[in-house]
């Protein structure tokens, strides 16, 4: 009998040891548009130094939440702090935040450089930052072209350049890989990891769960304006992991099925192997019970659920 662990993507071990480790903290944050509750008593915590995935189906309240955090929408009720400052004190934290909200918006008749110049003058940033950020996002050679001639991917890069202008501690990126080609997506992923390694905190809202899975170490999952999950990516994956049992024959397989069901776990037969939805550490217990029952020729391995599987299971109410 053997035990295997199938652990995927590289994630930082993130934990919350104190409130000062938090970049975002909300308490009962709500936004109602008439009778519709776009965000409903949202309470979330995002730790410093993480790449946090902000996930939810369309209309879940992600963009509304981001807009409230940036002072563009007025919350109906509740409170929130960003970098330790109340969101009512925008001047105390916005200069330390870089934000890209929804699809990036520009003045199409102005060049990429002029668009950055508008933001640089408004934010009071040094003009030398323009060349630096253009180089970071790889737009230095097209900087003089009018933005209306840019591809969607180039606009996305220019949006990111805009976010980086103030050298922010905290970045909020809404669909940053939208319109990027596969190479652009890989570059963006590396860029995000690089910024995290420099100590920056990044909140990424995206529908590309596969992408988020590769970079995020913290997750906030929303559905219909409420929080479904707020915690480390590892915690979610462990919560949704399952044991895969290969048995030498049908008799031994039936014994394992009986043991798992008796313990209250859901069992599925898939391509000849058993999938048991249970905590990963139950593997050793299963192994002992199977041996006692006479199922000695089985292989148990652990399989992590993908973020997509976990997300869909949560939406269906399978916790």
């Amino acid at each position: 009998m053997t035990l295997h662990s199938n652990v995927s993507p590289i994630r930082q071990a993130i934990s919350l040891s104190s409130d000062s480790d938090l970049v975002i903290e909300t308490h009962g944050l709500s936004k109602h548009f008439g009778q519709r509750k776009a965000v409903d008593a949202l309470t979330i915590r995002v730790p410093r130094g993480s790449i946090t995935g902000f996930i939810g189906p369309n209309g879940a309240g992600k963009t509304t939440t981001i807009r409230m955090l940036l002072g563009l929408l007025r919350p109906t009720s509740g409170s929130a702090t960003i970098l330790g400052k109340e969101i009512s004190h925008l001047r105390a934290y916005l200069p330390r935040v870089g934000a890209l909200i929804e699809s990036p918006a520009f003045y199409p008749g102005l060049s990429g450089r002029k668009n950055l110049e508008v933001i640089t003058r408004l934010g009071g940033y040094p003009g030398s930052r323009i060349d630096q950020v253009l180089e970071i996002v790889g737009l230095d050679r097209r900087a003089k072209d009018p933005v209306r001639k840019y591809s969607l991917g180039m606009k996305q890069r220019l949006g990111l350049a805009m976010v980086l202008l103030p050298e922010p501690e905290f970045l909020i990126l809404d669909e940053p890989t939208n319109g990027l080609d596969p190479f652009g997506i890989i570059e963006m992923r590396d860029l995000l990891r690089g910024m995290r390694d420099q100590g920056k905190t990044i909140l990424v809202s995206s529908h590309l769960l596969g992408e988020l899975e590769q970079v995020c170490d913290w997750l906030v999952i929303l559905h219909e304006g409420k929080t479904l999950f707020n915690g480390s990516a590892n915690a979610l994956v462990e919560r949704r992991s399952e044991l895969v049992v290969e048995a030498a024959d049908a008799a031994q397989r039936d014994l394992v099925v009986g043991i798992a069901r008796a313990a209250g776990y859901r069992v599925q037969l898939l391509n000849g192997s058993l999938r048991i939805a249970c905590p990963a550490d139950w593997a050793s217990e299963l192994k002992l019970r199977a041996q006692d029952a006479g199922a000695t020729d089985i292989t148990i391995s652990r399989r992590e659920a993908s973020l997509e599987e976990s997300f869909l299971a949560m939406l269906k109410g399978e916790h």
Binding site: L73, L94, A99, K114, I119, L122, G123
Partner: protein
């Protein structure tokens, strides 16, 4: 506010904005020239007694006033379109996360827009004045009264009042843009209001309409042509005071609305 003002300056380098200046110059020359040539070649002049007015100290400003309505339409369109575009293009959210003091941003932007309107109008009027002086001489009209101390004083008073009226019109454009938040709607409403709505109001409510903003701003110029309202019936002082009250009203309502509104753009 100064940073917001400075951040607006690169936006004026767009060709669509810059193209407005030669168009304005061309029209401020073209319409007075049309009036001048009609006054001398036809009995059906734009103003009944224009040939008699031309060789007086009022001659120059009477000709210049033929371009007034156009200048007003350009100013209100420029301000309403430029401001509403920040919502329509979605650029407003980029700006307000850098300058969360919404009123500072709005005043900075309006200062830049007003400066643009004032400078481009002044430039257009001076070029137009030069051309009219040359043309009038060639048509044999005596321009000597225009160049007397009194004539020059009247010209500068007219220029000051025109610029003041354009500030009022621009604030009306701001007011409409802040409330409508859409380029198409803001420009449509602004132009329709300035060119049509108050004239219609005057047709059904003659006395009341004289106190409406476009009438009052126009009266400030105090000149008479097919394209202007003429001398203020309530007197210049009352006109000026109520016009200023309208401007303050536009500023206050815009400020309250903009400060409180959600930015969904």
């Amino acid at each position: 506010m100064l940073r917001a003002f400075r951040s607006e300056l690169p936006k004026f380098s767009r060709w669509m904005v810059l193209a407005g200046i030669p168009v304005m110059v061309a029209v401020t020359i073209g319409l007075p020239y049309f009036a001048l040539s009609r006054a001398l070649t036809s009995t059906d002049t734009p103003i009944k007694n224009l040939p008699q007015i031309l060789p007086t100290t009022q001659g120059l400003i009477t000709l210049l006033s033929f371009a007034q309505k156009f200048t007003v339409a350009v100013a209100v369109t420029m301000v309403a379109a430029n401001l509403a575009a920040e919502w329509s293009q979605g650029t407003l959210r980029n700006l307000l996360v850098r300058e969360p003091g919404r009123l500072r941003w709005l005043w900075g932007k309006m200062l830049a827009l007003l400066l643009f309107v004032i400078l481009s109008t002044t430039l257009a009027i001076f070029i137009s004045t030069g051309v009219i002086l040359l043309l009038a001489g060639s048509y044999g009209i005596s321009t000597a009264p225009w160049l007397t101390l009194e004539g020059v004083g009247i010209f500068f008073l007219y220029l000051g009042n025109e610029l003041l009226g354009l500030v009022g019109i621009s604030l009306l454009g701001m007011f409409i843009a802040v409330l409508t938040r859409s380029i198409g709607i803001a420009v449509g409403i602004s132009v329709a209001y300035v060119l049509i709505a108050e004239d219609l109001a005057q047709a059904v409510w003659k006395d009341g309409a004289t106190w409406l903003p476009v009438h009052l701003f126009d009266y400030l110029w105090g000149t008479e042509s097919h394209f202007s309202m003429g001398v203020p019936p309530m007197g210049y002082g009352a006109d000026l005071i109520v016009a200023l009250l309208w401007m303050v009203g536009f500023v206050l309502v815009s400020a309250i609305a903009f400060r409180r509104m959600d930015i969904n753009a």
